[in-house]
Every structure is written in structure tokens, then in C-alpha cells.
Amino acid sequence: MSKSIIFGLIVSATAVLFLSGCGASGQQFSQFATPQPDKGLVYVYRPSSLLGAGVYYDIHVTNPSNPNLIAGELVNGSYLKIDVPVGESEVWGQTESKASVTLDIKNGETYCVKGGVGIGFIVGRPNLDIVDMNTCKIEIAETKQNN
């Protein structure tokens, strides 16, 4: 085996070991919880992907009662469960640029936001989308809790 192949294998193995530490270590998603009284529940999840696997970002929630709540880190293959008061809330993440979605939270309702990572100049950028519950149920099942 040539030296360049051995070098390539070592680099690949190191990268795999390095990135394996970036995933979520919490409990696997089992079912949606019941929202607290006078609140809504927001799940932000990020399906596992090789692209941008090592990039993670904080999920912030901004609303009149809390101008900047940091809900947790959205790492590859993870989900966050956030209790949010009724009313408009902005859910956002930022690396070199910001991505945000706005939800009008109703009492007792559950919402899903799908996160991802897209191309950026220096580092991957957050990508956030509001998704319907049917899509969410399928995709969130593969993720683990991270808050």
C-alpha cells in the first residue's frame, strides 16, 4: 500500500472520529409531548447529514416576553424541545449569517422547524424551515434530544 493511500485512510479515520463526537447524545425521539398550559411547543430538529456535519449553531427564540432565549445547540441528528408562550415568536440560528422563521404560537399547539446547514463563505450557514407535522413525525424519529 502506498504512503499516500495510508495517509488518506488516516485522515479519513480521524475525520470520522472527530465528527462522531459532534452528534447528539440524548434520548432518541419517541413521541410529541403535551404542551404546558397557556403555551405552545416547538420542536426544532436537524436530520443527520454528511454535509456540514461538524457545523452546529445555537437556536434562539425571540418574543415579547423573552427577547433572546437560547434553547440549545442544534447539532447534526438532534432535536430541541422548546416551550414557547402564546403569540408571535421568532426562531433563529446564526453562524456567519442568520436564518429565521416566525411562528404565531397558539395555546396547546405543537410546531416543527427543520434545521440544516447550507454553503457559506467560511463556514456552513444555518437553514431553517417550518414543516408540517406529517413530515416532522417521520424525520424527527431519527434524531436524539440535545437540551
Binding site: 403569540g87 408571535e88 442568520k98 436564518a99 429565521s100 422563521v101 404560537i105 447550507g118 437553514n127
Partner: protein, 169 residues
């Protein structure tokens, strides 16, 4: 030689400048009336939390026999990052080549009721398209707000026309 490269790159960049913009279309098309009219006094039924999105020509009055219900629906057509693995090899990204497109669709409806009978309905819809490229990130907060304000203004104009026609009758 370098000058020529700069000219070529500038030409290519100018081709994609339009791609970075967010565009909004509101329906129906309506002639703008600049004259001021009195707000409609009515009992407002609105289940949204942000009063900013309510038409400004609806004024809440508990005593009024006229009721007005305002509701809107927001739908999203999401772009995705699935092709970013290939996009990374696209040299045109540096001049703003679009990577994905997403849309926000808002449909709003305002019903005026007299003793539970609908006497007039105003409807407006808006679609906002936004492309993601190296200079502009994704996110639906901005287009959502822009569309909700656009349908509000459109319905305000419709109410103005309605009031003007009512005065002439």
C-alpha cells in the same frame, strides 16, 4: 489581462444580481386611492396575536352592530440544502448563482357581517419568492412579514373603494 478578467466577472455578476432579490406579488391589483376615509367601526374578531397585521381601516367598537372577522393563512414552499454538496463545485456561486428558492404564500380574508349575515367579503393574497445564494441566506421571517403587511394594505384599499362606492349609492 487582469482587467479583462475583472470585466468578464463583472458581466457575469450583473447577470445574477436580480437573482438575489426577494420579489413579492399581491393580488388583486387595485387602484390606489389617496383620499382619507373614516375607519369602519365594527366588532373585530381576529385570532392572530399581532395587531399590526389587522387592516387599519377596521376600528374596534363594542357597540357596533357590524362585525368584522379577519383571518389569514400562511403556507410555505421550502427550498432545501440537498444539492449543496454539488453546488459547492459551482464556480458561479461567487457571483451570486442561486442555490435554492423558497416561497411564502399568504391568503387573507375579511368578512363584514351584519347580525351574522355576511354583507361583504374582502380577499387578498400574496406570494413572496426568495432565492438563497452566497450573499443572501434563507429564512421566511422577512417575506412572511412583508406579505402579511402587503395583504393588510391591499384589504385597506379595498375597504376604501367599498366605502367610496357606498357613499355614492
Amino acid at each position: 489581462m487582469l482587467d479583462r478578467k475583472i470585466i468578464y466577472l463583472s458581466c457575469i455578476a450583473s447577470l445574477f444580481i436580480g437573482c438575489a432579490q426577494q420579489n413579492i406579488r399581491v393580488m388583486p391589483d387595485i387602484n390606489l386611492l389617496n383620499e382619507t376615509v373614516r375607519p369602519l367601526e365594527c366588532k373585530i374578531h381576529y385570532d392572530g396575536s399581532n395587531k399590526e397585521y389587522l387592516p387599519r381601516l377596521l376600528q374596534d367598537s363594542k357597540e357596533s352592530q357590524i362585525g368584522a372577522s379577519y383571518q389569514y393563512d400562511v403556507r410555505y414552499i421550502n427550498g432545501n440544502t440537498d444539492w449543496d454538496g454539488l453546488n459547492i463545485w459551482n464556480p458561479l456561486l461567487i457571483v451570486g448563482f442561486p442555490m435554492s428558492e423558497e416561497s411564502v404564500i399568504v391568503e387573507a380574508k375579511c368578512e363584514l357581517k351584519d347580525k351574522e349575515i355576511v354583507v361583504k367579503t374582502f380577499e387578498a393574497s400574496c406570494i413572496a419568492n426568495k432565492t438563497r445564494n452566497l450573499f443572501q441566506n434563507s429564512g421566511s421571517s422577512e417575506p412572511r412579514k412583508a406579505c402579511l403587511l402587503a395583504v393588510r394594505d391591499n384589504i385597506d384599499q379595498q375597504i376604501k373603494h367599498y366605502q367610496k362606492e357606498s357613499l355614492h349609492e
